[in-house]
Amino acid sequence: MRALRRHGPGLLAWLAGIVFFLPIAWMALTSFHSETDAATNPPSFTAALTLDGYREFFGSGGGASPWPALANSAVASVASTLLVLLLALPAAYALSIRPVRKWTDVLFFFLSTKMLPAVAGLLPLYLFARNAGLLDNIWLLVVLYTSMNLPIAVWMMQSFLAEVPVAVIEAARVDGARLPVVLTRVVAPIALPGIAATALICFIFSWNELLFARVLTGVVAETAPVFLTGFITSQGLFLAKVCAASLVISLPVLAAGFAAQDKLVQGLSLGAVK
């Protein structure tokens, strides 16, 4: 009884961890099986391992190559993240360090745009893109992803920058430093971990996005999640390939997320949880 009380919670936690991870572990195992071994009932845990699923996915099996889609996702995510930082850093600076009248109102305006669902502007954006010849153009996604992540980034960075002591900034200004210098030499070094966390979260959201990409891109600017939707109706013939594809496309997010677990929580809760 005493032992159960002492070790029970730990064992239960391990059990929960395994149950939650099981689908991912199974997906990983299936991705290394041949298509025939992957689609058996009951499932085979001991089937021979092969890289065929990955070979199929990367296109040597005759299907469409995922490389253009992966490259598009990389461009959209990295470019929009950089653009977000470029716009959010000065804004957060103004909101947290230099006083602006009614600054909380501005902050709430930023946040409120995040609560405007994506479908609210989808049709006009589609019509605009079609008339302007921007359909199937990756740079349109860059702009939209920037607007999608900007509110969260401003909020997060505002809370990170608020930790920079005002006295340090005032001192730099008294010494005659101008805004760009203050930002790069004084503020950035102190707030760097927070800025990195913000960038990480923007990257993850952009990488994951499906609705805009699905509606506004086609062949040329297709992103990785859109590429994955090609597997929605495949009826089990390509189970190993589906698993390999899902894992490869999730890999950047998994790696980034594992590396920065704590920052992730703090960022996702808009800095409210520290």
Partner: protein, 311 residues
């Protein structure tokens, strides 16, 4: 922040030199403007356009027949049985997923709050579902777990001689919900874990010395402390799940009564080309979100005020 910085601007010396003060005020606002202008242009303008289009009868296949119909689209959206159903589905999906993942997340956070061997590994295992790309997670559930012929669920059920149902067609909404609960529980767990670890340990020790049991400490100390973290998790979860598109699109393609509002909006203009109707439905999604958002902003601002008063 306000408390410490406000006096700097309101010194009489600066207010006295008026033109320079005005210039200064603009210089202070300037860094904000690019982000503000960008955000208004890219998010608010399209919404205004959606609002305008929602008053028109406009099928993209017959652009010449476009005409103003006032509130007709809204009447149609609200009286259409399918659309009303998708409103209901959205509510059901959001409420079920948020509640289930919040409760599960709380249990897991309480378990992880204790010290045990391999806690770091367990935490990493538990976070993983949240870090799988949503479309990939939906594909995983649809093909690898739910499939009636070779899916893992029925495969495991086979070993104990259990039934072999076709999960997606038998309980479609539940199938979508389960996959979303799996993805969102880690998120709730992370927020609640942060809440648990910010508890005042001395207070808990004191209660223990006074003879309080685990359950009493949980009900009277832990739960009240967690309240704002529970609220935050519920609100952030609602904002994202109410807009869910990926899981519905991937697992059921909106079939079998699982079409939620975002999927319906997508479908009515992408497939049916009904621009006016789609816009009206989109505006309704916004109104629904606004209800959550007003509440959300109030909670966030109360968190925020606490932070300011602490500073």
């Amino acid at each position: 922040m306000t408390a410490t910085t406000a006096p700097l601007t309101r010194t009489p010396a600066r207010a006295a030199r008026r033109p320079s003060a005005r210039l200064r005020a603009w210089a202070t606002r300037a860094p904000l403007l690019p982000a503000l202008v960008f955000l208004i242009a890219v998010t608010q303008l399209p919404f205004v356009a959606t609002l305008v289009i929602s008053f028109f009868d406009w099928n993209a296949l017959y652009p010449k027949a476009r005409r103003f119909t006032g509130l007709d689209n809204y009447r149609q959206v609200l009286t259409d049985a399918d659309l009303r159903h998708s409103v209901w589905t959205t509510v059901l999906l959001t409420a079920a997923v948020v509640l289930a993942s919040l409760v599960l997340g709380l249990v897991l956070a309480l378990l992880l709050d204790r010290r045990f061997r391999g806690r770091g590994i367990v935490r990493t295992l538990l976070i993983a579902p949240f870090l799988v790309v949503p479309v990939a997670a939906a594909l995983l559930w649809k093909h690898v777990l739910y499939n009636p012929e070779y899916g893992l669920l029925n495969g495991l059920s086979h070993y104990v001689g259990g039934p072999q149902p076709d999960w997606v067609s038998r309980t479609p909404l539940l199938a979508v919900e389960a996959s979303l609960v799996w993805q969102w529980t880690p998120f709730m767990m992370l927020i609640l874990l942060a809440g648990l670890q910010s508890r005042d340990q001395q207070q808990i020790e004191a209660a223990r010395v006074d003879g309080a049991g685990d359950w009493q400490i949980f009900v009277h100390l832990t739960l009240p402390h967690l309240r704002r973290y529970l609220e935050l998790g519920a609100l952030l979860g609602s904002i994202y799940i109410v807009q869910n598109f990926d899981a519905v699109f991937t697992i059921t393609s909106g079939g079998l009564g699982t079409a939620n509002l975002p999927y319906t909006v997508y479908q009515s203009f992408y497939q049916a080309h009904e621009n006016g109707l789609a816009s009206a439905a989109g505006v309704l999604v916004v109104i629904g979100s606004l209800v959550i958002a007003t509440f959300a902003l109030r909670v966030v601002s109360s968190l925020f005020r606490e932070e300011v008063s602490r500073a």
